[in-house]
Symmetry: C2
Subunit: 463 residues, 2 copies
């Protein structure tokens, strides 16, 4: 029995009925040619026949133990694969609408702590000769970015390869999974929160001084502050999930026309959609929404060699003015582009420690007081977390079934009722919106509004 | 905001991930003649169109409040009917097996305390021109017996009646629902536990003396004690549910041949099945299993008029020797018949207070220490709780759809990993077995063993 790292157990301690701490992924597959009516149930049965399960997927938590309530990992020696790998159906007519309803419900329930903290559901009954899979894994086991990469890396680029094994079965195709934390920390906001807080405070009083200085510097730089909004309230445990893909080419074309990055355009799509959504509900704040966007930043080399112990690239958290107060799409995009540039400039020339310290501040609420004394700092706050995780460019296959789309599900949090995570796949920009069902009503309307928002951007930039 | 009675809030305080405190019901319906492929989704849509919801189904808990951690009921003024009334599908081939898998999963997840504590799922995709409904309600809102009766009472005996409204919609057809506690307490074991403990201890020190005397009396009467068994261990939150109906006529025929009651034969079916199940697993105890069976008993009239404040009929808990140590089916049935007679005789001539006091003892573990000082009594204990709830004799219809079967789901508890609840309906004896998925492996095997057990009884009594 090995004690968990604090960064793992944090997710178990912080979990409550109101905010389960698992991430998820929804994948759509096309049935291969010649697939019969029993294809999906046979696919499920084949998964159950692979009884060999990687150690990571056999771990379950024990605890809390000791005076600080830390958890330990232990092996589940009675692993019940049928419990974890499930077969579900959709009610007729089996549209994506029914699939999203099911996925929302599956994502809203807590994982069983008496077992390894993951579930995988194969979904039958999807119209258009397709089936779906929904995977769910606790953040204490694997962060969102690694989970997404693991799913993708276990697939094949070869439509004729039939030996593709599921993510929990050894061996997987790449080694991403053997070092989940290393790559995870690059962009996953929750892991980043834990690591940053730990890194900074592991350094003692001097580091707190650095944080306070960096905080003053940022306050001077940023001309805006996150307003109160409908998304920044206590939440309930039920979820709504909405997902859709847009052709990358459309996004790129707007970027080219406006000299903006693809990421800027993605944020502008979100901005336009959120603005209209809140206008319809009569809840648009006067001041613009502020988004937090985790980004991988290259720290200045040699800025301070004594800080090498922090390891890896620096993770910066950019606070971006979403310009939701502006009615014009082009103005919003320009403001976002400008805000992202300034946000990166804040970090320009900083040492890795300074980047880490500065980025830690707005994430502190996510680290929910596992570090004593943190609550005395006032975080600048943000309204919505938007993550962008690059994905594979080529189409992927699972034993001949082409993956048509992949959509990430993340973690709404106390005071953060909406999470937007975006990934790219085979020429498509795939949006996954996870929200508290009560706090973010009719979340699926945001999909239509994202399309309208992209159309507005197209009109505004090519006119 | 009204404070909850202790008997309600007990179920919220006692709830944990490992033992959700809700009861459920699974109903199978035949599609009416001429039903099209969209019949089930239209049925679901019609349910959502009935926006009027009875006050009981709009209540949600608030709390705990105050120094004793009591809960209060409050009204949900933003009731989200779509959240509560769901449409699900089965994977192909849509057999009862797939239905039980789904039901097991639905029954294993906690209800959301931010909302009224009920869910209703319409299930599409069941083979044989059928559909199903699964209802789930928290025991703090409604006990298992009342929930079952409510579902049944909201249906019609007339296949041509099309104005049948769902259970949460006013008006229901009978008034059972306006006085749920009154009828519930007759047999529901969990409500009985709460009431009995409260009644007895509400009477102060004198009552404790009565309990202790009654306990000594029972110990002298019973020649057996519950052995340790595989069912009496800590449990996990995941569930397995198995259900099947048997023709009442077969059960009655055995009863007539052996001069036993229908209830005796039902218990003998359980006994034979449990014996074989544990033999197969190598876990059969040497001593016979003891079942606890809640029964409505008529207290001697005028035994003590001063005890009228306890109200209603007395609820007796019969501890029955299941004779699982005996290889012969006829011997088991005879032993059970004898044990039930003796069990009732223990109560014979007792006052209502004495019956109440005596019945409270083995239920104390279910009341989980909400009454301070209770833990100093040593309960005699039992191995499995078996409830028998009489149901309607005539076939019932929901807007022309004939109900084919109805199966109760109850609450496995810490130290009580298996619950058997039986009801009768239109010439059938309907068994619902709810177990902890980990502690009671391959629960569905018990269905085949119940059939074998009934066959053994038929052979043994008609030979």
């Amino acid at each position: 029995m090995a004690l968990m790292p604090v960064t793992d157990s944090m997710f178990l301690l912080a979990e409550a009925r109101e905010h389960p701490m698992h991430v998820g992924g929804l994948q759509l597959f096309e049935l291969p040619d010649g697939a019969g009516p029993d294809y999906v149930s046979e696919f499920h049965r084949d998964l159950l026949s692979l009884a060999d399960v990687r150690p990571l997927f056999r771990r379950r938590p024990r605890g809390p133990v000791g005076s600080v309530g830390q958890f330990a990992w232990t092996n589940d020696d009675q692993l019940d694969l049928e419990y974890h790998v499930r077969l579900s159906g959709l009610p007729r007519p089996g549209r994506v609408r029914e699939l999203l309803e099911l996925t929302s419900r599956l994502h809203g329930s807590l994982l069983d702590r008496h077992r390894p903290l993951w579930e995988f559901t194969v979904v039958d009954g999807l119209e258009g000769n397709r089936f779906a899979t929904y995977s769910k894994i606790h953040h204490a086991l694997l962060d969102g970015v690694s989970a997404l990469k693991l799913i993708q890396s276990s697939l094949s680029e070869d439509p004729n390869e039939l030996g593709v094994r599921p993510p929990w079965s050894p061996p997987v195709r790449t080694n991403v999974f053997d070092k989940p934390r290393r790559r995870a920390a690059e962009v996953d906001p929750f892991t980043a929160a834990g690591r940053l807080v730990k890194d900074v405070f592991g350094l003692g009083g001097a580091a707190v001084k650095v944080v306070n200085e960096a905080f003053r510097e940022q306050s001077a730089t940023l001309a805006f502050q996150a307003p109160k909004s409908m998304f920044n309230v206590p939440i309930t445990g039920a979820r709504r999930f909405a997902a859709q893909g847009w052709p990358l080419e459309r996004v790129k074309a707007v970027g080219r026309a406006a000299s903006a990055t693809m990421n800027d355009v993605m944020l502008a799509m979100c901005s336009g959609a959120l603005r209209q959504y809140m206008l319809d509900l009569g809840t648009l704040p006067d001041r613009p929404l502020v988004a937090a966007i985790p980004m991988s930043l290259r720290a200045r080399s040699g800025a301070s060699s004594s800080e090498g112990s922090l390891g890896g690239n620096a993770i910066g958290l950019i606070l971006c003015n979403l310009a939701t107060d502006k009615p014009d799409a082009a103005t919003r995009l320009a403001t976002i582009h400008d805000s992202m540039l300034k946000g990166k400039q804040v970090y320009h020339g900083m040492s890795r420690l300074q980047i880490t310290a500065l980025s830690a501040i707005p994430l502190i609420p996510l680290a929910v007081g596992t570090v004593p004394g943190m609550t005395t700092l006032t975080p600048p706050g943000f309204n919505v977390l938007i993550s962008n995780v690059p994905g594979p460019r080529e189409p992927l296959y699972w034993n001949g079934a082409r993956m048509q789309g992949v959509y990430p599900l993340s973690i709404p949090y106390e005071g953060q009722a909406l999470n937007i995570t975006v990934t790219s796949y085979a020429g498509s920009l795939e949006f996954g919106l996870t929200g508290c069902r009560r706090t973010v009503p009719h979340l699926q309307r945001l999909l239509g509004l994202l399309e309208e928002s992209l159309q507005d951007l197209e009109k505004a930039t090519t006119a």
